[in-house]
Symmetry: C2
Subunit: 86 residues, 2 copies
């Protein structure tokens, strides 16, 4: 499953396009975000991707969970959002 890393500076429309592309190809995408700004962009991207995919008759849902990641030797808690066809 392709993992898309989202930051607070990510453009939500660009992330939405990437999510829609991965969903069309494989039916399932994974988005990872650390911090409130990044999580906000990720959720907005999923909402926008829903619109893109609705045009193709594809309905998506998402499943958020916590995941521990190591960045520069530091453990951080990220939010992972799995996006999949309903």
């Amino acid at each position: 499953m392709e993992m898309l890393k989202v930051s607070a500076k990510s453009r939500s429309t660009a992330v939405a396009g990437a999510i829609a592309g991965v969903i069309r190809e494989s039916g399932r995408a994974e988005v990872q975000a650390i911090g409130a700004g990044a999580v906000n962009q990720a959720v907005k991207a999923v909402a926008i991707a829903r619109g893109y995919l609705a045009e193709d008759g594809i309905d998506i849902v998402c499943v958020p969970s916590f995941v521990e990641v190591v960045i520069a030797d530091q453990e951080r808690t990220a939010i992972r959002i799995v996006v999949e066809k309903r």
Copy 2:
């Protein structure tokens, strides 16, 4: 459907408990958040609620969308997250 308003100051565990309660009762909950801090708390709450409900054998998914709301005569864009049983 019950609507839970989440702010940046909401405790995510408290919101998670509320989501789990509404899902157990009615199978469907709606969470509304404005701003990155609030959206982050809402998503964390859904992730925590998944854990609570998994203990009851209930699997949830969520569907984010944009919604225009009027607060103090000003139009704001909120994120609405519909949480439902898979």
